[in-house]
């Protein structure tokens, strides 16, 4: 594996970055741009770390030398040691690998530094030697300085170590490359001891190592190669195993996956600080054992188990015990002599924090991480091997046990995921994958409540790239069990809780952005969920991921997750706000995050911009949100009923409002433990161990201090005051933020205006309605009028018709009358004719009478008679005649009389046709 890594620079396709991870094609350009920046940064931080570690080394020496001296006494050099030594380079996988690295060391400028510095460093040598065992409390850990990257990347340390190295070493460096390859090298142990800084370590260890130990050591790396080895007792002390010989012969030829390597001595101080934290946590957990019953008890159990199984290997046990004893005694010593708790014994913590935020040098990363996670403190001898050995019994023994079933399922899942973990990474070849498999299986057995969860494959893969297998296992244990406890379990409760917490923080920090996302229908957790679960692996460029991990592992909690996610939101929020639909917003955020090459900007924004996000704060928020998650989970598992919808706006607003007081409480709660500590300090000054317990029981975060020395106490209080002031400042800042947020909300809140407008509109509406009603009324009125008019019209029409009828009737009457008149006229004419006739008859008669009278006149009488008779006749005649005369006499009058009549008749006749 290491060979691959060391040759990476040659075999690297252009598509991979300096860590061998695939680069997205679209990021190639930007990566190239940043590659130079990375290099500069790397150089800078290498320098800083070097200085820091030198300083540490010096102080550490003073502190530890005495005790270590003692320890190194009961020692005997064994020839086999060399085998071990030669093995060590093999941790880089291939013994042949040593050469390039060594030669590089030789050619490096630091080399010269050594040679010059060696002159003065020689005198320190003694101290150095004694120094080393101290760092390895456990003598069985005797391969201190190795890490897989070690072979290529150790320059840094060498340089520091070289400061303390002796003159003749220079000369013997050339030996070293040979060692790896050539077993014949074993004999000249003395020269080889001097050959390299690492050597030196061995030499010290050799002093106290027993012969079979080195067998163990040589054994371990060999195991790594061959999965078939897993089941076999790996300890040479169980020497009965036939594998042993095979190993010893094979170990030099074959690729090796190193199982366990100790951390470089210079990092010991850091390691101690961190392990202090772990022990504290352990104490807390032990106290809470009944309540919590977490995984650590398991660890304890197994530690017994492990020790039992080691009974055969007496040497190991002895050494274990010895080392444990020494650790304890050391602790006791320190506690007693110094009587000072954690913080004061690590005055450089702040400096280190600064350095970590600036990034850990590539070369040191693997070991620094181990130190941060406290790999050595967590480690239980042979625990890992035993976990792996369980496989055999599992497979052979219990056939279809329930737990076995689960294990099978997990194994299947692991099998599925192994080729899908950093596919194509040069280091994850056959061997790398086997290591990965073993690691994940071992973890699944170690903590059945988690088993295996997708995402762990990436973590394990990453750790394997930086450290030997067993170290990676313990680092993984630290990360998953402690840092991410409850995250990857079956229900993933803590992960869900964190999402709610993060959403609340987002609402508080970026109300505008969240409003926009709400508007688009995007839930923050859609995006942040994968970020948190993967700890940004595959989500950000690798440089950024590693930088975040640096800080996260250093801090030992998930605060950095939140801070980074918030920093990303701060960096990219303005861009997100411009998007117009959910898809675009998510795509944009994903791709922007994926091209966050400026790792320094990201980490600094995260660390400096969000100081108010502290573990205590997160703890409170988690407590607040956990019940709702638990409720949902319970509901789901019980009934499988409807997934509870996200909380209503009202609840969110409520929580938003109630944040502020919680912050105040927080600051208070920070103060409290101090008092307790001070009291404890006063009463238990004499009993330091008790004090330590007590301190262990206190919250991890509040770095409690109790100093007998008033001055120190004052200093400490000042620091505390500063911190509180800072807290206060951030609280004030936050209050201001909230205020502005509120203002914004108020500004946005134009409800009043709206309601006024509404009223106005409503009024208008009513007015319009009124108008409408009026119009309608008018219309009806008009209609009525119209109707009336129509009626009238109808009446008049009727009247007209009547009149017409009347006219017709009258005409008819006229006609009838005319007819009558005509008839009358006719009859009149007839009557006239008759009158004429009668007149003529009368005349005739008269003439006849007169004729007769004449005849009779002769007779007188006749005459008288005739006269008598004549008179009437005359009268008649007179009358007749008169009338006739009148007629005759006035014929014009008669005619004129007659003519008008005729005219009338004519007129009437004429009229009639009309």
């Amino acid at each position: 594996m290491a060979e691959k890594i060391s040759h990476l620079s040659h075999t690297l396709e252009p598509k991979r970055d300096a860590y061998g991870f695939a680069l997205r094609p679209q990021h190639l350009q930007r990566y190239r741009e940043y590659a130079n920046i990375y290099k500069e940064e790397e150089d800078e931080r290498s320098e800083k770390w070097k200085n820091f570690l030198e300083q540490q080394a010096d102080t550490a020496q003073n502190c530890w030398s005495q005790r270590l001296h003692k320890e190194s006494l009961p020692s005997g050099v064994s020839e086999h040691r060399d085998g071990t030594v030669s093995d060590r380079p093999a941790e880089g996988d291939d013994p042949s690998d040593n050469k390039p690295s060594d030669s590089r060391i030789g050619s490096s400028p630091e080399r010269e530094v050594h040679s010059t510095e060696n002159l003065r460093s020689r005198e320190h040598k003694d101290r150095t030697v004694s120094d080393r065992p101290a760092e390895g409390d456990d003598p069985s850990d005797n391969k201190p300085s190795d890490s897989p990257i070690g072979s290529s990347l150790e320059r840094e340390v060498h340089s520091t170590e070289n400061l303390r190295s002796s003159e003749h070493r220079d000369g013997t460096v050339s030996d070293r490359p040979a060692e790896g390859d050539d077993p014949s090298d074993n004999k000249p142990s003395d020269s080889s001891i001097g050959s390299s800084p690492e050597r030196e370590v061995h030499s010290t260890e050799n002093l106290r190592s027993s012969e079979h130990r080195d067998g163990t050591v040589s054994d371990r790396p060999a195991e790594g190669d061959d999965p078939s080895d897993n089941n076999k007792p790996s300890d040479s002390s169980i020497g009965s195993s036939p594998e042993r010989e095979v190993h010893s012969t094979e170990k030099l030829k074959s690729d090796k996956v190193p199982r366990w390597a100790n951390i470089r001595p210079v990092l010991g101080a850091i390691e101690n600080m961190m392990s202090f934290r772990i022990e504290k946590a352990k104490n807390v957990e032990d106290d809470l054992k009944g309540v919590n019953g977490a995984h650590l008890p398991t660890v304890d159990e197994v530690s017994h188990l492990g020790q039992n199984s080691e009974d055969d290997s007496e040497g190991d046990v002895e050494i274990d015990e010895a080392s444990n004893g020494s650790t304890h005694s050391c602790k006791g010593e320190r506690a007693a002599s110094e009587g000072t708790p954690l913080e004061s014994s690590f005055p450089w913590r702040e400096e280190l924090e600064c350095l970590v935020r600036g990034g850990v040098p590539k070369d040191l990363r693997g070991e620094v991480w181990q130190a941060f996670v406290g790999v050595r403190t967590r480690r239980i001898e042979r625990y890992y091997q035993d976990l792996l050995a369980r496989e055999a019994s599992d497979d052979e023994g219990k056939a279809l046990d329930n737990s076995c079933d689960v294990q099978q399922k997990l194994k299947k899942q692991i099998e599925k995921d192994i080729p899908r973990t950093f596919p194509g990474h040069p280091a994850l070849d056959e061997n790398g994958r086997n290591s990965l498999r073993r690691l994940l299986i071992a973890y699944a057995r170690h903590n059945p409540s988690v088993g295996y969860c997708q995402a762990m494959n990436f973590f394990a893969g990453l750790l394997l790239l930086l450290m030997p297998e067993e170290n990676a296992f313990w680092a993984l244990v630290g990360i998953i069990d402690d840092y991410f406890g409850g995250y990857y379990t079956e229900e993933m409760i803590e992960s869900q809780v964190d999402q709610l917490v993060f959403e609340e923080l987002m609402r508080e920090r970026f109300p505008k952005l969240v409003n926009h996302l709400d508007f688009l229908g995007v839930q923050v957790a859609w995006i942040s969920g994968p970020w948190f679960l993967s700890i940004f692996v595959n989500m950000l460029p690798w440089e950024s991921v590693l930088r975040i991990w640096d800080v996260l592992l250093f801090e030992g909690n998930r605060v950095m997750l939140f801070r980074t996610a918030l920093a990303l939101m701060e960096l990219y929020g303005p861009a997100i706000v411009t998007t117009k639909d959910a898809g675009d917003a998510i795509t944009l955020l994903q791709s922007l995050a994926g091209s966050t090459f400026d790792s320094s900007q990201l980490v600094l924004t995260a660390c400096m911009g969000f100081l108010a996000i502290t573990e205590a704060r997160l703890h409170n928020l988690r407590e607040k949100h956990r019940p709702s998650v638990l409720e949902v989970v319970e509901e789901r598992s019980r009934k499988g009923r409807v997934w509870k919808d996200s909380k209503g706006l009202a609840t969110k607003l409520y929580s938003f409002k109630h944040d502020t007081p919680s912050l105040v409480k927080e600051t208070k709660s920070i103060e409290r433990p101090e008092d307790v500590a001070a009291d404890a300090d006063a009463s238990h000054l004499d009993n330091s161990s008790h004090l330590e317990d007590l301190l262990g029981g206190l919250a991890v975060d509040s770095e409690v201090d109790s100093l007998p020395d008033l001055q120190e106490q004052v200093v400490w209080l000042k620091v505390e005051l500063c911190r509180l002031l800072e807290e206060k400042r951030s609280a004030i800042l936050r209050a201001e933020e909230l205020e502005t947020a509120l203002m914004e909300m108020v500004q946005q809140d134009n409800r009043l205006q709206l309601s006024a407008r509404m009223e106005q509109l409503e009024q208008e509406v009513t007015e319009l309605r009124q108008a409408l009603a009026d119009k309608k009324e008018q219309e009806t009125a008009m209609l009525q009028v119209l109707m009336r008019v129509e009626q009238e019209q109808r009446v008049t029409e009727d009247a007209r018709i009547c009149a017409e009828q009347e006219v017709a009737a009258q005409k008819y009457a006229v006609h009838v009358l005319q007819e009558k008149y005509e008839i009358a006229m006719i009859s009149l004419a007839q009557m006239e004719k008759r009158v004429v006739m009668a007149e003529s008859m009368l005349e005739a008669t008269l003439q006849y009478e007169s004729g007769q009278n004449k005849a009779q006149q002769s007779p007188g009488s006749a005459r008288s008679q005739s006269s008598a008779q004549e008179t009437p006749a005359r009268r008649i005649g007179l009358f007749g005649l008169g009338w006739r005369d009148r007629n005759k006499g006035k014929p014009s009058v008669e005619e004129s009389c007659e003519s008008p009549q005729k005219e009338i008749t004519n007129r009437e006749l004429e009229q009639q046709p009309k």
């Binding site: 396709e13 695939a22 596919p423 494959n457 229908g521 993967s534 795509t587």
Partner: protein, 200 residues
């Protein structure tokens, strides 16, 4: 090798351009739908999406953690466009706890199984039940048998798939992300089945 990215850079450029014309509102011609892919681990959910969105197939793709998002727009024959906002979820069982976050509010659910794995078919049925219980009732559901190119290793018959889909009112198709068989058809068929907003 090229497990490269879960981010549709190409697509995103295209889509953002498209979107500026469309606005965010669904109209009759431009639909926007949230689609969620569910199914057992390793059945090829991510591969289906990658094939559909980028036309690529990577035999060594990487494990999806949580979920990943991609989007793609297709044009139908009736000149409507459908923009799929695809959530590709993690397959491991315990991630089911997070699945509701993603399938809530989704208009389409694509449940995928591997035709060479009866176990994954079982898992698909679990997902269908889960969706029937907790998903929105008018969700368009598709049952997809992936890895259809591995005919010789087939363990779930086509008929089984058809029967189960029919029983549950789903649309069924067998696809192969590797050969790109039926991948576009899958999404086109889904698009056709979407409820259209009635033009008012």
């Amino acid at each position: 090798m090229g497990c490269s990215s879960s981010l549709p850079d190409r697509a995103s450029g295209r889509l953002s351009g498209l979107n500026s014309e469309n606005g965010s509102v669904n109209d009759a011609k431009n639909l926007r739908v949230k689609l969620v892919l569910l199914g057992d681990s390793g059945v090829g959910k991510s591969c289906i999406v990658l094939r559909f969105v980028r036309g690529q197939f990577d035999p060594t793709s990487k494990v999806t953690i949580g979920a990943s998002f991609l989007s793609q727009t297709i044009a139908l024959q009736d000149s409507t466009t459908v923009k799929f906002e695809i959530w590709d979820t993690a397959g491991q069982e315990r991630y089911a706890a997070l699945a509701p976050l993603y399938y809530r509010g989704a208009a389409v659910a694509v449940v995928v199984y591997d035709i060479t794995s009866p176990e994954s078919f079982q898992k698909a049925q679990y997902w269908v039940k889960e969706l029937q219980k907790h998903g929105s009732p008018d969700m368009v559901m598709a049952l997809v048998g992936n890895k259809a190119d591995l005919q010789e290793n087939r363990e779930v018959t086509v008929q089984d798939g058809i029967d189960y889909a029919e029983k549950n009112g789903m649309f069924f198709i067998e696809t192969s992300a590797k050969t790109a068989d039926n991948i576009n058809q899958l999404f086109e068929e889904i698009a056709k089945r979407l409820p259209r907003p009635t033009p008012s």
